[in-house]
Subunit: 389 residues, 2 copies
């Protein structure tokens, strides 16, 4: 399979790199962040707005699309691009992570995974071969192999077994994948065990996939451990292939991931926290529902030139959130994605002109990350809630 990634420049002082991902729906400059369109829509926005925000590629989820609208509808409608009217690139996750995080009951063996729909409890069976078939019907530009995730805190034996199964499934996916206008990325696992992370990356690298993802992170481990696992994985991946850190996308994590050599990020965080009223500024997140914003005539981030900040005061956004008006979620989503889009542009420009190291330093000095405890607790609470459901 031909490579679908051009490495344009590597930062002389470290591992950060600028590149281009070549897809059937256009060239995507990297490092890139993919807005999450789980259910065939980036929540609250039209495809035109996503494009205007500067994004050329989005993520969608095979698991959700399989349940709703269903693979047959997508086949009839001519695939996901046409269905949701998005002519940019699409990467689809295979469903492995969603089965792990969303399905109330699941049973995994070597053949595949039996899971229950988080919507109506109906039982379904997913195999590596079916995951590829569904993604070929969906017609995404980048498909992902089916993998087995393990929760943080799982013991070495379980993580090792899940990793080996992930490797076997990756081979089966590669064997049945046929679509030539779609590439298939492998997913490295290995939990929080450095030697397993290296083993997983090395094994998958030997199979010569066109791109590699780092899976199973941001599941409750500390930020330090997460970044260590990224480095361990990347150390065993070929530098000429695209590297994708799955489910990671806070501004500080993106900058640190890029510094270690990640090319692709996706995360529901910027859009999800937007709908909760947490808006990015270059100094950190701000909660627009806080009463200090009730009479602020300036936009939430005066240095931002997004549609929301060009047009509306912080006071108006505050009012919309307090009144629970639907326009609030949309204006906040536009702002947070514009912020991430701008961040990615600054990152890439600084790599290209050799100033990424100082950009990173300045960014981390001024941007105050949201309290990590809060972050981890929220994620764990969410995962627990899904378990109980």
């Amino acid at each position: 399979m031909n490579t679908n990634f051009n490495l344009v420049k590597t930062n002389p002082e470290g591992s950060a790199r600028a590149g281009e991902l070549i897809t059937a729906h256009g060239i995507v400059p990297t490092p890139v962040f993919l807005p999450v369109g789980t259910q065939a829509t980036v929540k609250t926005l039209t495809p035109d707005e996503i494009r205007e925000l500067g994004f050329k590629m989005i993520l969608s989820n095979t698991y959700h699309l399989y349940l709703r609208p269903g693979i047959e509808i997508l086949r009839k409608m001519g695939g996901l691009h046409r269905f949701m009217r998005w002519d940019g690139a699409i990467l689809t996750d295979s469903g492995g992570y969603q089965v792990f995080s969303l399905s109330p009951l699941r049973k995994i063996d070597d053949s595949g995974v039996t899971f229950r729909s988080h919507i109506d409890g109906s039982a379904h069976f997913l195999t590596p071969e079916l995951a590829v078939e569904y993604q070929e019907i969906i017609g995404s530009d980048v498909a992902m192999v089916l993998d087995e995730c393990t929760p943080t805190g799982n013991n070495h034996e379980n993580v090792l077994a899940a990793m080996r199964r992930t490797h076997a499934w990756a081979e089966r996916c590669l064997k049945v994948h046929k679509r030539t206008d779609q590439v298939l990325f492998a997913i490295a696992q290995g939990g929080i065990f450095p030697e397993l992370r290296r083993e997983s990356a090395a094994y998958l690298a030997s199979l010569d996939f066109p791109g590699y993802a780092i899976g199973g992170l941001c599941l409750g481990e500390s930020k330090e451990v997460m970044l260590e696992m990224v480095s361990e994985t990347l150390s065993a991946l070929p530098p000429d292939k695209a590297r994708y850190l799955m489910g990671v996308g806070s501004p500080e994590d993106i900058v640190e991931g890029v510094a270690r050599g990640v090319d692709i990020f996706d995360c529901a965080l910027p859009t999800r926290v937007a709908r909760n009223g947490a808006l990015f500024t270059w100094q950190g997140r701000r909660n627009i529902k806080n009463s200090v914003f009730s009479d602020m005539e300036a936009p939430i981030e005066p240095a931002c030139d997004c549609y929301t900040c060009r047009n509306f005061s912080a006071a108006y956004l505050h009012h919309l959130f307090v009144a629970e008006e639907l326009l609030a979620y949309r204006l906040a989503t536009i702002h947070n994605l514009a912020f991430i889009s701008s961040l990615m542009k600054k990152i890439r420009d600084s790599i290209l002109d050799g100033t990424f190291a100082s950009f990173r330093k300045n960014f981390l000095e001024t941007y105050e990350p949201t309290n990590e405890e809060t972050r981890i607790n929220q994620k764990q609470k969410w995962l627990r809630a899904r378990e109980i459901e």
Copy 2:
């Protein structure tokens, strides 16, 4: 006070009329429908979208704005136009109807009305003079007098008393109204008693307001009675002043209201039913959640050229509604408002070229109104729910 209404043409075969409402924020061709922006936003849409849909005037509610964001915030922000970034015209209702329909407990005497906030139960006092003062701070182009609504089914004695109080309050409002870039409309009441409707219109006409509204309708009475009350009221209003039928706005009611001589309509119905998945077509409303739409490649109304119909299949809209995606509510709102905008243009064009009678006949032959029982039951259920709250 100068008139703010130019009568351009009256239909030779009946009472339908085309005109122009002159406001401080532009000329508004009539008959006109005002999208409802209760809380300083037409739900789900930006001001740019409202303008692109062809609307030059919207409605907002003093009652809601008084509670949130509050009159002091609006004063600080330079009025409602600036706060919500809408440079078209705005009409504000006074709060009379909302106190009647939304406040769980209220006490009315000649001095004014004590009511409880539907949000937090706090007690507030509203007088005719305060209603004018608040609307002057809000800065709407058309303000409404404070009136007293009576529920359908109330006896003659109570309706008469409320009507007389409404008249006295109208005089008090007129006396204190100062803003010269804002006009004040009176509201005729009279319940479902023809002679009271005529008396109310005639009395208010004698006070020489720049425009007149017909209030207290669409509250559970049948469509026939509603239209009869409209005719009775209009028979006693001066033809050279604007006439506004409050809270009425289904497609069939608009056509029938125009036929009787109404110039201005407002109603939450087109936007509210849109969020429930009921989309207008020239044959009547369609429920997009119905499974017949799950694989329909065509838009919901092929004859519609709105953003939603130009870009998205009925199948995609169906999916968004089933998946409860926020984009659903926005795309549906755009469609329903585009439909009403198009309806108003067809109505006005047909009045101008003398073909309104045949337009009306054709429209009513092809457009199947939503079952009236359902309509009335829904409204009564809603009003009862508010009473209990």
